[in-house]
Symmetry: C3
Subunit: 314 residues, 3 copies
Amino acid sequence: MTTGYFFPHRHILGIDHLSVDDIHHILSTAESFKEISSRPIKKVPTLRGNTIINLFFEPSTRTRLSFEVAAKRMSADTFNISASTSSATKGETLIDTARNIAAMNPDTIIIRHSFSGAPHMLTRYVDAAIINAGDGMHEHPSQGLLDMLTVLEHKGRLDGLKIAIIGDILHSRVAHSDILGFTKMGSDVFVYGPSTLIPRALDRLGARVCSTLAEAVADADVVMTLRIQKERQNDPLLPSFREYARRFGVTRDVVALAKDDALVMHPGPINRGIELMPDVADSGRSVILDQVTNGVAVRMALLYLVMGNAPVTG
Amino acid sequence: MTTGYFFPHRHILGIDHLSVDDIHHILSTAESFKEISSRPIKKVPTLRGNTIINLFFEPSTRTRLSFEVAAKRMSADTFNISASTSSATKGETLIDTARNIAAMNPDTIIIRHSFSGAPHMLTRYVDAAIINAGDGMHEHPSQGLLDMLTVLEHKGRLDGLKIAIIGDILHSRVAHSDILGFTKMGSDVFVYGPSTLIPRALDRLGARVCSTLAEAVADADVVMTLRIQKERQNDPLLPSFREYARRFGVTRDVVALAKDDALVMHPGPINRGIELMPDVADSGRSVILDQVTNGVAVRMALLYLVMGNAPVTG
Amino acid sequence: MTTGYFFPHRHILGIDHLSVDDIHHILSTAESFKEISSRPIKKVPTLRGNTIINLFFEPSTRTRLSFEVAAKRMSADTFNISASTSSATKGETLIDTARNIAAMNPDTIIIRHSFSGAPHMLTRYVDAAIINAGDGMHEHPSQGLLDMLTVLEHKGRLDGLKIAIIGDILHSRVAHSDILGFTKMGSDVFVYGPSTLIPRALDRLGARVCSTLAEAVADADVVMTLRIQKERQNDPLLPSFREYARRFGVTRDVVALAKDDALVMHPGPINRGIELMPDVADSGRSVILDQVTNGVAVRMALLYLVMGNAPVTG
């Protein structure tokens, strides 16, 4: 950490807005919080009296739970609002919903929304800190950060690593945040997937589009598979699941092309036998559950850091 | 406050049951709690160890959230039960559901139900304090109280004010509680809406039914618009939305008929462009977000006051 | 309690695994916790900093609420995951779901699942304590324990009592846990119901299958009725509701065959007028609401006891 570094962000909207120093600071803060979750009393008073609202317009178990666990371990009060029960169904606009919630004086609003840019828009209308928990096909910054923390813990560094990302890059906010984050930290990101699902502008982000799975994975330090969205089964852009598994599924043979100590990662939930084979998911190479554990720590860090930039009230 | 005044209610079933002194006391208690929500640590230990259950048989985000925020800021433990997940779907009667919940020793049950009188009925079967969070077309007392608090804060008084309420009065428990409350406190309430949606007995409540929008709004201190229920779109009692907006929608021109410093209010969520025009909702006249902020304070006061009348256990 | 007794279980999977000493210990622990729920401040710091997750793959209000109330009264942090919002709908396997949740370091996972044996399976994959809140047609141990606590409180003993259980035994995990528990504690269990819904192997559990309702209920100390599952209305194994009420419904006349001080019990929610007549449910004989109250105490005891066997973390 640079001496005199001060975390400058009031909101966490995307990896795109974070500097290398910011990312280092978030990861080291997360690392220091991680130990709390292994104590018998998993609770520190840091955010006591804080009001943290999970505002989820898309269904989610893991991410919502991870943020809620993180918040309660910091002693914050948490509130869950899901789209199906929200007045969104009564025709209220997102901005009205957010301003109404903001009028109850929350400290932080964690938002997931199908529109890219929704979290950013909210920052113009509410005083609370906004954390993006996934917006459309745009970003999912806490996932990108937990992925970086997991690699950092296992490899001791992020620069100079080869990260292979396999799957539907086009629709994946996880891929987007990971590509931004790992390249920023000095890793080389190689991507491969169905050609219809690889956006053209990917090179501009610093990722290298590969023409074969072998090219992407060869000598990789990390093999990261993306989840295929089953609800998009009839999408003409997508091959059948059987075809997908055959051409893009990460098998033991695929992993064998990577480095001997390569990590296997997946943002979850896994479609076993489609994008990732069960024996690989459960192998010693897999750090998928470490990703989940680190998710709580990263989110504790984010909640803590944005609160440090709360306006002085009183 | 009258010297020696003692808040006499174990339950909050409706504005109808509250005296002028009761309302003054609730509003001044709410006012004193309001500051808690603007602290960095938004929490007082007042209701620590209290069990407060939100029992909602109709979908709600705002009211449920507002009560939950209020309860947690008083350090109570809160529990949410919504109709879709409740054993109501298993054919259990409301009374059985309530008695079962009551057997878990809650201190307060906050109930929303589509049947008018449901909260009152519960008081005969359970020991917990009952707070009505909206019962059918009957009352929504905490909304009436937060509306009064908002007007009181901005006008410094409630007596002698002209309050115009525009919309579907017939189906609105908000309108009912507001008419009862504001007339009780000495305001003059004028109502206007589609003639099929104005109950005949309204005069008996002390409200004056107007025959034109201009008559209702002229020189008003408050212009309160009711939400049109979109789910009732095909109700023959209701004009089309376009027609509704033209004849009953509150525009800048309508507000211009009111006093220069008139307040614009709405219980939310707003149907922008139907009952309330966006430029009015977002104007300096609008105190709609103050209503939301005051909602938390009023509900903190109600939870606190009913607990003061809890039976002594030992 | 035997001197030197030590509660040996890390998980609560079924009554089947509990010894007579274990059951005595759970019931006396529950008895000692019961008083907490009648205090004005219903909260002890015993499980502060504990993370307790309700993982419900079947809809439930009462059992989920009862566990949540129990956990919060012990100062634990609770998290609710219900099937409809879980990534089970995204095709994730139960094991993956559980391992992911476990990676967030919960202390206890309370699981309800439609597959018999699901809780047992989880113990092989996660470090958290597992409490079975109902698995398929297998067991519902906390219900069995609260039933025993209720009888013990009213009768002062469990051995030598005649317990009549009436209804659909075949599909009832409640009946299964009750039969195992009461026979283990020395009661004589008599069962009666539609012949298609009485499993043949029942005798092996120690229960006596009766051929008439009168035989089951005659001189009974407890008349326990099972809930008929309305969603199984068109099941060919089941008579019509009218027919069911006539032949298996517990009426005042049926209860008159039992002992004068016989208790009437039901796991809830009641189908009034089908398996249990309203006048019986609301009579002085009914201890149905005591069952609910005892449910909270039993669950506090279970959460406390499994935590006593948590692995030492450093």
